[in-house]
């Protein structure tokens, strides 16, 4: 899919995120909006996948370790044809498969249950190891929140990934610099981030997480590394696309009120 179309889809995903979370009266819009461009590039350009055969053995896998960004994943899966877009409005409701955090096997295309931060990269390592054992060519993409990197299990997984030369594994950091209580560097500093990953034996790419061309280029760059796992640190803006939500930690886990909702829809529809 070409760049313009992907940009449009990314903003459609954002619109879904706002509509879904408002319909649910809960959820995590901020980190869903920051991830929207990257997720759109993955599902509509980078990954080999087939909505008609979600368990295709050779598909690329996407693990959303920052499971609270479920709305943007659900929106992408629906737009990619995994289930009807109409289902999105059932988010977080009793009986819906669209649980507050992604649940494996509940929805086609969801590869693992996540939501407890710090676990996704380990699961992604397991899938990547299985790919090696079975001599498959698929790639495993795992999206991590930046605040999530405060959890030690990530670094256990990071160590394992380089130790086993998992060059079929790509970690993606949504570096929006905000977590629920504020600035990541004030709560528990994770910088210098590239150096941390480098010292764990990873290839490191840094890029702009809101420029579709640059996001595509970053994923292209992964191919230049023959050995070792690769991390792409995407610099992003929490709440991206809705002016009053941008760089506002409040919207990590809070949804728009009625007035805000109307403003958000106006702003996003202008982009589509």
């Amino acid at each position: 899919m070409d760049v313009e179309k992907i940009q449009r889809i990314a903003n459609i995903l954002r619109l879904h995120v706002i509509e879904m979370t408002v319909a649910a009266s809960s959820g995590h819009p901020g980190g869903s909006l920051s991830a929207a461009d990257i997720v759109a590039v993955l599902y509509f350009r980078v990954m080999r996948h087939d909505c008609k055969n979600p368990v295709w053995a050779d598909r690329d896998r996407f693990i959303l370790s920052k499971g609270h960004a479920a709305p943007v994943l659900y929106a992408a899966l629906a737009e990619a044809g995994y289930f009807p877009v109409d289902d999105l409005k059932t988010l977080r409701q009793l009986g819906s498969n669209l649980q507050g955090h992604p649940v494996y096997k509940k929805i086609p295309g969801v590869e693992a249950s996540t939501g407890s931060l710090g676990q996704g990269l380990s699961i992604a390592c397991g899938i990547a190891l299985a790919g090696k054992i079975d001599t498959k060519n698929y790639k495993v993409y795992c999206m991590l929140g930046d605040g999530e990197l405060q959890s030690g299990q990530n670094w256990e997984a990071a160590m394992l990934a380089s130790n086993y030369n998992l060059n079929n594994l790509v970690a993606i950091v949504d570096r929006n610099r905000l977590q629920i209580c504020g600035d990541t560097e004030e709560i528990m500093a994770i910088d210098p981030l590239p150096e941390k990953w480098l010292s764990f034996g990873w290839n490191v790419i840094e890029s702009d997480g809101h420029n579709i061309n640059k996001i595509i280029a970053a994923f292209e760059n992964v191919k230049t590394f023959r050995t070792g796992p690769t991390v792409i640190i995407f610099n992003t803006v929490k709440g991206k696309g809705v002016s009053f939500m941008e760089n506002n930690a409040e919207f990590h886990g809070k949804v728009c009120n009625k007035d805000e909702y109307a403003r958000a829809l106006t702003e996003l529809k202008r982009l589509i």
Binding site: E111, S122, A157, Y164
Partner: protein, 316 residues
């Protein structure tokens, strides 16, 4: 005859290494102790050393299971369940992934290493997780057959094994049925329900009771979850009093599982033998078993009290 359960776990893994291409084994730097090293020797390409990182081990196991593997992970009971409980909950149990957590060094008979290494709460914390099967074999033969049964079963399981050598109380080569308890000795006066190496202690206690004119029925509950409630109810309906015995805390273990079931079914005296809300300490295994009350004498005494209560109520 006495044999170590973990050696027979290693043997069963060797068998699986040869017969099951889908089996992958993970360990956290103690493969020589847990005996997963036996699998590593035969199938090094399907053995994954994760280092001293149990939380990651569970996540990696989850990813392998999602990819169609039958995954065994092993380390000591304390670390296999406690260090990574929440990882087991979300990444293994909730999605029903095909991961078998097989711990060794369960219980107080770990001995000299002391409380930090003596898993006395593992049954309790594993049993409370939905979808989780919990197995505690009585001896080495059962550890072997249960390992093969785990490989056949699709879904999350926890199995605990001891460190030392335990008396053999079952027959070699018998198929293990997950969820089935077994009456090892029939009796009409009291039901002794044991798990792990305490099954053997229950059998010895039954001998002592026999000499005193009491016929004890002895049940080996090697699957603690799902509990074989039929077997227990059939026995207790007849004997009307119970003693449970386990090398585990009386909080949340076999005794609790039996009590929870019987509470809604039969009003009978029940006494639980296990560690009594306490940590262990360093010492020789047999001395610790004695100090913490996991003895033939204690089971006999509990049985006599239980029978007394059945016959005369609470009055002393």
């Amino acid at each position: 005859m006495k044999l170590a359960q973990r050696n027979y776990y290693g043997k069963a893994l060797t068998e699986l290494a040869k017969t099951r291409r889908d089996v992958v084994v993970l360990d956290a730097d103690i493969a020589k102790s847990t005996k997963t090293s036996e699998f590593q020797k035969i199938a090094p390409d399907r053995f994954i050393e994760v280092g001293i990182a149990e939380q990651n081990m569970i996540g990696v196991a989850s990813g392998l299971a999602i990819s169609g593997k039958t995954v065994f992970v092993s380390t000591f009971a304390v670390f296999a369940t406690g260090r990574c409980w929440e990882q087991i909950r979300l990444a293994v149990a909730y999605p029903k992934n095909n991961v078998k957590i097989v711990s060794t060094h369960a219980g107080i008979s770990v001995g000299e290493d002391g409380a930090s290494h003596q898993g006395l709460e593992d049954i309790s914390i594993m049993r409370s997780i939905p979808n989780m099967v919990v197995i505690s074999p009585a001896d080495a033969y059962e550890a072997y057959s249960a390992t093969l049964a785990l490989a056949e079963y699709k879904g999350p399981c926890y199995m605990r094994l001891g460190r030392g050598v335990f008396p053999i109380v079952t027959e070699e080569g018998v198929k293990f049925n997950i969820g089935k308890a077994k009456v090892l000795r029939e009796g009409k006066d009291i039901t002794l329900i044991g798990t792990g190496q305490l099954v053997s202690t229950c059998l010895d206690a039954a001998d002592v009771l026999k000499a005193r004119g009491i016929n004890a029925e002895v049940i080996n509950v090697s699957t603690i979850k799902p509990l074989d409630t039929k077997c227990i109810k059939d026995s207790v309906s007849k004997t009307r009093c119970v003693v449970t015995a386990e090398e585990h805390s009386i909080i949340g273990g076999l005794g609790s599982a039996v009590a929870e079931f019987l509470l809604g079914e039969l009003f009978v005296p029940l006494i639980r033998i296990g560690t009594n809300d306490t940590f262990g300490e360093s010492g020789r295994a047999e001395d610790l078993m004695k100090k913490y009350g996991l003895t033939i004498e204690n089971i006999v005494k509990a049985a006599e009290i239980s029978i007394f209560k059945k016959n005369y109520g609470e009055a002393k």
